[in-house]
C-alpha cells in the first residue's frame, strides 16, 4: 500500500491535474483488452522525461510496481497492473517532435497515436507501414514496447524494422539514449532492439526515432474465394514463388465468411471454404500487371470467384469485409479471445485444420482469420467470460492451439505479446536456457522487479 505521503510526493511531480486516485478512475485503469483485471493505487500522466525519471526515483526507492500504459488495447494483459502500485499513462505525452523529411526519420513521444502519425506523414509523402488492427487508437510507445505487427508485415515487416533509436527511463530513474538517426549502427550491443517487444518490463520509452519510407504510388486489392482451403494455402506460397511480394495476404475461414456476411451483407460467397485477400502496392504500371498475374494464379489453382478492385474505393470495399471480422464475431458472444499463433507458411493449412479439430474437441466456436503471408493466425475464441464451465474448455483449447503451433515449428504469439496471457507457455516454447537468460536480462535492467512485474517472465 502506498502511504499518503508517497502519494502526495508523486502527485507533486506531475501536478494534481495529471494525478488520479479515485475509486472510479482506478477501475478505468484496471484493464486492457485482455480478460484479467487488477487495479492500481494511483495513475500518473507524465508529459516530460524528467517527470518520468523523478517518478522512477521514488518508485525504486520505495519498490513501487510501475505499469506503463498507452491506449490500453493490449490483448495479452500487458498494461494491467497486476501487482497494484502505479500506472503511468503516456497518453498526454503525445507530441510528434520532428519529421525529418530529408533523413526520413521521425522523432515521437510515446503517446502519439499510430493513425495520427500516419496521417501527418502522408502530408509529406512519407509512410510508416506497421498497421496493427487497433491503429486508430494505439500509441506508438505501446507499439514499440509490444513490437506491434499488422497485415502489412508480409512486405514491410513490423515495428522493430523501423526502430532506429530510443530514449528510455530505467527502473533506477536514469535516462538512457540508444541508437540514433541512422539505419546503420553497430556501435555496441543493440540495446534499442532489446526494448522493442520488452512489454514495459525493462524500461519506460519516453522518445523514439523511427525510419520512414516514401508513400507508395498506388495499391490494389484482389479477393479470391476457394472451395478448398488447401488451394488457398497453396496460392499463398505460389505468390512468392512468382516473385511477387504483396503488402498483405489474408485468409478468412468459412465460419468467418458466413458470420461476416450475416453481419454486413456485402455479398461474400457463403459456399467458399476460404477467402483470400491479396494486396499489392507500388507504381501504377507494376501494380496493374501484378494484379493480372495474381488473378491468373488464383484461377489456375482453383479459385472459383475472383474480384479485383479497380479504384481506391473498391479496395476499401474488399477490405471492409476483413475489417468487419471483429464486429461480426463480437455480436455473436459477449467475449472474444484473440489467439495469435504463427507458423511457417507451409504449415498454414495444417494449423487451420488443427484449430478446427480443437474447436470440435472442446465444443467451441473458433472462427479463424490469418495474416497468411507471414503465417500468423488469429483464431478467435468466442465465449462468455461469465460461463465458468465453458471458460475451462476455452483455456484448454488455447493451450492446445499454442502447443500445436510450436510443434509445427512456429510460435504461440506472432504479434500480441506474452503479457499475462502467454506467460505459462513461454518456457515450453523458448526453453530453459532462454528463460534463464531472459530473467538475467530483466534483473540487469530492473533488479528490484518494479517495472511491469510478473509480465513475460515471473521473477521470484
Amino acid at each position: 500500500m502506498l502511504s499518503q505521503t508517497v502519494k502526495e510526493e508523486l502527485k507533486a511531480i506531475v501536478g494534481r491535474d495529471r494525478y488520479l486516485d479515485s475509486k472510479e478512475d482506478l477501475i478505468t485503469y484496471s484493464y486492457d483488452a485482455f480478460m484479467v483485471q487488477a487495479q492500481p493505487e494511483i495513475v500518473l500522466f507524465p508529459i516530460r522525461t524528467e517527470e518520468v525519471s523523478k517518478i522512477m526515483n521514488v518508485a525504486s526507492r520505495d519498490r513501487i510496481p510501475v505499469t506503463p500504459r498507452g491506449a490500453g488495447t493490449n490483448l495479452t494483459g500487458g498494461s494491467v497492473p497486476i501487482r497494484g502500485g502505479m500506472v503511468l499513462g503516456f497518453t498526454k505525452m503525445n507530441k510528434i517532435l520532428n519529421i525529418d523529411k530529408e533523413n526520413r526519420v521521425a522523432v515521437l513521444q510515446p503517446g502519439v497515436i499510430n493513425m495520427e502519425f500516419q496521417k501527418e506523414l502522408s502530408k509529406h509523402g512519407l509512410y510508416y507501414p506497421p498497421d496493427p488492427g487497433s491503429m486508430a487508437v494505439t500509441t506508438m510507445g505501446g507499439n514499440v514496447a509490444e513490437n506491434a505487427g499488422g497485415p502489412r508485415a508480409v512486405k514491410y515487416g513490423v515495428t522493430k524494422d523501423y526502430l532506429l533509436g530510443l530514449e528510455v527511463v530505467l527502473a533506477s530513474g536514469q535516462i538512457l539514449r540508444t541508437g540514433g538517426k541512422t539505419i546503420k549502427n553497430v556501435t555496441g550491443y543493440n540495446l534499442t532492439q532489446l526494448f522493442c517487444g520488452s512489454e514495459g518490463t525493462l524500461g519506460l520509452i519516453t522518445e523514439m526515432s523511427l525510419k520512414l519510407l516514401p508513400l507508395p504510388e498506388t495499391r490494389r486489392t484482389l479477393q479470391a474465394a476457394y472451395k478448398n482451403l488447401s488451394d488457398a494455402g497453396k496460392t499463398v506460397i505460389k505468390v512468392f514463388e512468382m516473385g511477387i511480394l504483396p503488402v498483405a495476404l489474408e485468409i478468412l475461414d468459412k465460419i468467418f465468411i458466413n458470420i461476416i456476411e450475416d453481419y454486413t451483407h456485402v455479398g461474400l460467397p457463403r459456399e467458399a471454404e476460404a477467402l483470400l485477400l491479396i494486396e499489392v502496392d507500388g507504381p501504377e504500371v507494376a501494380v496493374v500487371s501484378q494484379a493480372e498475374q495474381l488473378t491468373k494464379l488464383c484461377e489456375d489453382i482453383g479459385a472459383h470467384e475472383i474480384k479485383v478492385a479497380k479504384t481506391a474505393a473498391e479496395n476499401d470495399e474488399i477490405w471492409r469485409a476483413r475489417r468487419s471480422a471483429y464486429g461480426a464475431e463480437a455480436r455473436l458472444r459477449p467475449t472474444a479471445i484473440a489467439e495469435d499463433c504463427t507458423v511457417p507458411i507451409t504449415k498454414l493449412v495444417t494449423m487451420f485444420q488443427e484449430v478446427e479439430k480443437i474447436a470440435k474437441k472442446y465444443n467451441l466456436l473458433i472462427p479463424v482469420v490469418a495474416h497468411a503471408g507471414d503465417g500468423n493466425l488469429h483464431p478467435q475464441i468466442l465465449t462468455d467470460i461469465r460461463n465458468k464451465e465453458e471458460m475451462k474448455r476455452v483455456e484448454k483449447a488455447i493451450d492446445e492451439i499454442s502447443i500445436k503451433a510450436v510443434e509445427l515449428g512456429g510460435t504461440a504469439s506472432g504479434e500480441h505479446g506474452i503479457g499475462i496471457a502467454k506467460r505459462e507457455i513461454l518456457p515450453f516454447e523458448i526453453g530453459e536456457v532462454a528463460i534463464e537468460i531472459t530473467k538475467n536480462i530483466k534483473k540487469a535492467f530492473d533488479p528490484l522487479n518494479i517495472l511491469n512485474p510478473d509480465k513475460v517472465v515471473r521473477i521470484v
Partner: protein, 411 residues
C-alpha cells in the same frame, strides 16, 4: 428501474478500446474515464455493487456529448447512448436536477407558460442584456452572440393550414420545434416557402409542444412524458402522412428516443413506432424532391458553403447524403466538404455549460476545420450546433440552416 437492458449491454463490451479513437471528449481529456469504454466499465462496476453513485461517478457519466460516435464504431454493438441515458436517470433519481435545468425543463414542458415568457425573454435577451450585460458569457458563448428572440413567435404568424399557389399535391405536417418558434423565425419562413413551392399544403397547429429530448437526455424521465404523449397523439393521426421537422434533435426524438424512453419506462411503443415511420427531416424530404423545385439559373457568382453534420442527424437519424445532395444542386453554391464534418461541434446541449473547457477544445477543432475550407457560409440543420458554432466563431462566416439556402435559391 431494473436497468436490465443496460445490464446485458455492459457485458457486451469487450474492452477493445476502438471507441476511444472517435470520442471527441476523450481526445480532449486523454484519460480513460472520459472514454466510452471507461464509462461502460465504471457502470458495470456500479451495477455489480462495487461503486456508489458518487460525485466523481456523476461527473464521469455526464462528461459525454451523447454524440454517438462510439455507438456507430463499436464492433460489439454496445448502445452507449442508451446505457449512459439510463445511468443519467439513476443520477437524477439520486441527485435531482440542478435548479437552472429544472427551471428550463419546466418551461419546456409548459407550452403556455413558454409562450408568455418568450415576451419577457425578448425584453431580457434583446434589450436588457445587450444594454447592461455586455461581455458576459454563458459557457463559452458571449451573451451578445446568443440568438435573438423572434419579434413574434413563428406560430403566431404562421398557423392553421397554409396553401400553395395553384393546386396542392399533398399535405404535410410541419412540427416547428421550440427553436424555430421562438428564435429562428427565418428558418420557419424558409421552410414554408420551400414547401409551398413543392405545391404542398402545410399544416401548422399554433399549439405544439416541445419534443422534450433535452429533458429526456438529462435522465429526467417523468417530466417529459406528457410532452411525449401529447406529441405522439397529435402526430400519429391517420390523416397525417408526413411529419416534417427542421431540427435534428426533434427528428431524433421522434425517430428513436421516444421509443427508447417508453421502453425504459416499460410502456407501449406501438404508437411511437408509427410516429417514427412518418417523421422526416426537412432536408431528407426536400432532397428527394429537389428536382421539382424551380431554382434560379446558375450564373457566374457562387458562394463557397460547407456543411456540418449534427450528431442527431448523421448518427441519430442516419441522414448524411441528403443535405449534400441539396447543396450540390443549388445554383449559387459551391459546396466544399470540411474535414471531420461528422464530428460533434462540442455543444451537446447543456454539456457546453457544464464542461466549458472540454467543450471549447472540441469547438475549436470544428471551427478550424470550417475555416480550412475557405467557405463564407456554414450550414447545419441543428439549432444547437448553429448556436455553438456562431457563438464561438470570431470570423465573418455566416451560419444558416441549409433550408435557408434552398429558399434563397428559389426562382
Amino acid at each position: 428501474m431494473d436497468l436490465q437492458d443496460t445490464k446485458d449491454m455492459v457485458y457486451r463490451c469487450n474492452k477493445c478500446g476502438l471507441c476511444i479513437s472517435t470520442c471527441p471528449v476523450y481526445q480532449q481529456i486523454l484519460m480513460e474515464a472520459a472514454s466510452p469504454r471507461g464509462k461502460v466499465q465504471v457502470i458495470k462496476n456500479y451495477l455489480e455493487g462495487n461503486l456508489e453513485l458518487s460525485k466523481r461517478f456523476k461527473e464521469i457519466i455526464l462528461t459525454c456529448l451523447l454524440c454517438e460516435n462510439c455507438v456507430v464504431n463499436c464492433p460489439s454493438g454496445v448502445r452507449h447512448d442508451h446505457v449512459f441515458t439510463d445511468l443519467r436517470g439513476e443520477l437524477v433519481r439520486k441527485y435531482g436536477l440542478d435548479w437552472k435545468k429544472r427551471l428550463i425543463y419546466k418551461l419546456l414542458t409548459n407550452e403556455k407558460f413558454l409562450h408568455s415568457s418568450s415576451i419577457f425573454a425578448k425584453l431580457g435577451r434583446n434589450w436588457l442584456l445587450e444594454t447592461f450585460a455586455k461581455g458576459m458569457r454563458i459557457g463559452n458563448i458571449p451573451l451578445e452572440r446568443l440568438p435573438k428572440v423572434n419579434p413574434k413567435p413563428f406560430r403566431d404568424q404562421f398557423n392553421g393550414v397554409i396553401l400553395p399557389e395553384g393546386e396542392a399535391k399533398g399535405r404535410v405536417f410541419y412540427f416547428t420545434g421550440c427553436f424555430t418558434n421562438y428564435f429562428a423565425g427565418d428558418v420557419g419562413q424558409a421552410t414554408v416557402n420551400v414547401l409551398k413551392k413543392l405545391q404542398l399544403e402545410i399544416e401548422i397547429p399554433s399549439r405544439q409542444d416541445c419534443c422534450g429530448l433535452a429533458i429526456i437526455l438529462s435522465g429526467e424521465e417523468d417530466l417529459p412524458i406528457k410532452n411525449v404523449e401529447k406529441n405522439i397523439s397529435m402526430l400519429t393521426r391517420k390523416e397525417i402522412d408526413a411529419v416534417l421537422v427542421d431540427c435534428a434533435t426533434c427528428g431524433a426524438a421522434f425517430k428513436k428516443e421516444y421509443i427508447a424512453l417508453l421502453k425504459r419506462k416499460g410502456m407501449d411503443t406501438k404508437e411511437a413506432e408509427i410516429l417514427k415511420g412518418k417523421t422526416y427531416d426537412i432536408l431528407e424530404y426536400v432532397a428527394e424532391r429537389i428536382h421539382l423545385l424551380p431554382l434560379k439559373d446558375r450564373d457566374g457568382k457562387r458562394i463557397r458553403v460547407t456543411y456540418h453534420d449534427p450528431c442527431h442527424l448523421v448518427r441519430g437519424q442516419g441522414v448524411s447524403e441528403a443535405p449534400r445532395k441539396i447543396l450540390k444542386a443549388l445554383p449559387q453554391v459551391e459546396f466544399v466538404e470540411m474535414r471531420d464534418a461528422n464530428m460533434c461541434c462540442g455543444g451537446g446541449g447543456s454539456f457546453q455549460f457544464d464542461f466549458p473547457e472540454v467543450s471549447k477544445g472540441i469547438t475549436e477543432d470544428k471551427i478550424k476545420n470550417i475555416l480550412e475550407t475557405g467557405a463564407s457560409v456554414v450550414v447545419t440543420g441543428c439549432p444547437g450546433c448553429r448556436v455553438t458554432i456562431s457563438g464561438n466563431m470570431n470570423e465573418q462566416i455566416s451560419v444558416f440552416h441549409p433550408i435557408q439556402l434552398v429558399d434563397m435559391a428559389l426562382a
